[in-house]
């Protein structure tokens, strides 16, 4: 068994079909490549073929998955039949910095944990609160409030066999000035950390230093590259910075940007990381191509360092 297993964070967005039985007929209707990315059967086969044994779903998938499959358990069985496990689900802990929102934030977090349990997953990578624009900068008390919510959700998650991992986006109200303060204000037994390699680098953390400092808190990764590390406040705190007006991409496939991912893998080896590595392809116009490019880079550059 390798130390690292590979998953994909699901960014296909809405997939309308469970399985296209009439694939050739569907193709011939308009002779485009739509048939190749419209059903879960095909997408899970791509994953299995490229050696990604896990999938991390997202809340935006549920509106389609649940009516299509009837239940989380049915989706999990369908994926397992194709060699893919559901490892967890992303969660946004909206307004957790707001004490008036405590009950709602905890309730939503617990419901997400329940959903993950039904999918058979064990990770809930959690954005601690919403964008900096509109609610930042946070006071010390608000950061502590965030930590309180994370601990509370983390306690429930731990009791149900799920690890919550703080997942910080570069544009969150939890940002460079209070990122480490939040981590250190949470209970390490209950709250872990998911390093999104590109997000924290864009925010201004040095990836290798951060991993060295927090390696014992790391539950999993969102592995992706960037060519835009250390963005200024004016970018990170802007209104809706995630999707740029001119199409500039923040995120690239591993090896296509400028991060020292080989250095990271040397550190993973040093600290004997064991667990899931989720690859994330947000920004890609061609997810299948991104998966294949990533598999090539993993096999030729990263796995020879540490597998």
């Amino acid at each position: 068994m390798p130390n690292i297993r590979y998953a994909n964070m699901c960014h296909w967005k809405s997939i309308p079909y469970r399985r296209i039985e009439n694939f050739r007929e569907f193709y011939y209707e308009d002779k485009t490549n739509t048939a190749y990315y419209s059903d879960w059967d095909t997408i899970l086969k791509y994953q299995a073929a490229l050696g990604f044994d896990g999938i991390e779903i997202a809340p935006w998938d549920l509106a389609d998955i649940l009516p299509l499959f009837g239940s989380p358990e049915n989706f999990t069985a369908f994926a397992k039949d194709r060699g893919v496990s559901v490892i967890g689900m992303f969660h946004g802990a909206h307004a957790s910095h707001d004490s008036g929102h405590f009950d709602e934030a905890v309730r939503a977090g617990r419901e997400a944990v329940d959903t993950i349990v039904r999918f058979g997953g064990s990770y809930m990578n959690t954005c601690p609160t919403q964008n900096h624009y509109g609610c930042g900068p946070l006071s010390r008390e608000e950061v502590q409030q965030c930590a309180k919510v994370m601990n509370e959700i983390g306690r429930y998650a731990t009791d149900h066999g799920v690890k919550i991992g703080l997942h910080n986006e570069f544009f969150c109200a939890i940002n460079l000035p209070n990122h480490r303060e939040l981590i250190e204000s949470t209970d390490p037994k209950l709250v872990h950390y998911c390093i999104d390699t590109a997000q924290i680098s864009i925010m201004g953390e040095d990836l290798l230093t951060f991993y060295r400092d927090y390696h014992d808190r790391i539950s999993t990764f969102h592995l992706k590259d960037t060519a835009s590390a250390k963005q200024p406040d004016s970018v990170r705190y802007a209104q809706d910075p995630e999707i740029t007006d001119d199409g500039t991409r923040w995120f690239w496939e591993p090896g296509m940007g400028e991060l020292d991912l080989k250095g990271l893998y040397r550190l993973l080896k040093e600290h004997e990381f064991k667990g899931w590595m989720s690859i994330e392809y947000d920004g890609s116009p061609d997810l299948l191509a991104s998966m294949a490019l990533t598999r090539y880079y993993l096999d030729t550059e990263l796995r020879p360092i540490y597998d």
């Binding site: 967005k13 308009d30 048939a35 419209s38 509106a63 964008n131 809706d240 947000d282 890609s284 116009p285």
Partner: protein
């Protein structure tokens, strides 16, 4: 009939199912490149499908709601100016469906949130100078039945609450100088002619939205429907289909994607079986002067659909 005045709906870009991921659709540049292409294909006016979802989560490049427009263009006037610079002279109409808000067992949530955003969308339509605001008075039947298995038992009370909501919107629409029209998609609680009692319960200012493909799928001849209700029509959507609903797909949770057999329910105009040329001739003969909108809402290739649509219109007698 002068087809130069036909608008095209921005539902041409299906933000949810058209291609893997959708990040390019979320960038402002995509739309600002699109508008001149729309003009180059002979359209001077567009319809906006209002989508509240882009208000949440930092995706305000999608120009489908008031929040996004204010974020990227400061105001509706700023957006209209940006459109005009790119050859789009008018936003003919705004459409709205409440499917986003049918997501749990609470009808109070559905009517509360749906009503709030419908009001926002109507006000946005007025700000954009639109002629009409077209609302779907029902979520997907199948989605509603998923959360409300006793939907048929609730139909009467649901209809009463919807009537009240629409009556309030009708009043606001008159004040804003926008025509409120009711859509009757084939997946609706009020599909086909079931829309008529709802319409009758509303003021005369409220009009019908004729969607040729939806009527066809619901088993209604669109030409006959137009003839019968010509004086109550507020907008015509020229949509095409070759789909025959033999498995009650209209009652499923995602009815534009039939579970038993994958198919493109809404075909690009001119590639389905609806006699769109005949419909245009009929509208001309009846002296219909209202808005006409081309829609390729489920196209697999929006740029091909844009040109296919123009190619179809070019074949019609002018």
């Amino acid at each position: 009939m002068n087809t130069d005045r036909f608008a095209i709906s921005l539902d041409l870009i299906n933000r949810h199912y058209q291609e893997p991921n959708r990040n390019r659709f979320e960038s402002k540049y995509f739309w600002e490149e699109l508008y001149p292409l729309i003009r180059a294909s002979g359209f001077r006016s567009i319809e906006i499908p209002y989508e509240p979802v882009w208000q949440f989560g930092g995706r305000s490049g999608v120009p489908m709601n008031r929040y996004c427009i204010n974020t990227k263009y400061a105001s509706a006037a700023g957006y209209r100016a940006a459109l005009a610079e790119r050859g789009i002279e008018q936003v003919t109409g705004v459409t709205f469906d409440p499917n986003l808000f049918m997501r749990n067992e609470s009808l109070d949530f559905f009517f509360g949130a749906g009503g709030h955003f419908a009001g926002e969308a109507l006000a946005h339509a007025a700000d954009l100078g639109a002629d009409y605001f077209a609302i779907s008075p029902s979520p997907y039947y199948g989605r509603a039945a998923h959360y409300h298995p006793d939907l048929e038992d609730k139909r009467e009370s649901f209809t009463q609450r919807m009537t009240d909501l629409l009556a309030g919107l009708a009043e606001k629409a008159v004040a804003a100088g926008v025509v409120l029209v009711l859509r009757n998609e084939y997946w609706s609680l009020y599909r086909g002619e079931a829309i008529l009692p709802l319409l009758e319960a509303l003021p005369d200012s409220v009009r019908l939205d004729v969607d040729t493909a939806s009527l066809t799928i619901a088993g209604i001849d669109p030409a006959a429907f137009i003839e019968a209700h010509q004086h109550r029509i507020g907008v015509v959507h020229l949509t095409d289909t070759a789909f025959v609903d033999t498995h009650e797909t209209w009652k499923t949770a995602n009815p534009e994607f039939p579970e038993h057999r994958a198919t493109q329910v809404f075909r690009d105009p001119g590639t389905g079986s609806v006699d769109l040329a005949g419909i245009v001739s009929l509208l001309d003969r009846l002296g219909y002067q209202g808005p006409i909108v081309m829609s390729a809402r489920q196209t697999r290739d929006p740029f091909r659909a844009l040109l296919r649509t123009r190619a179809l219109l070019d074949q019609l007698p002018h």
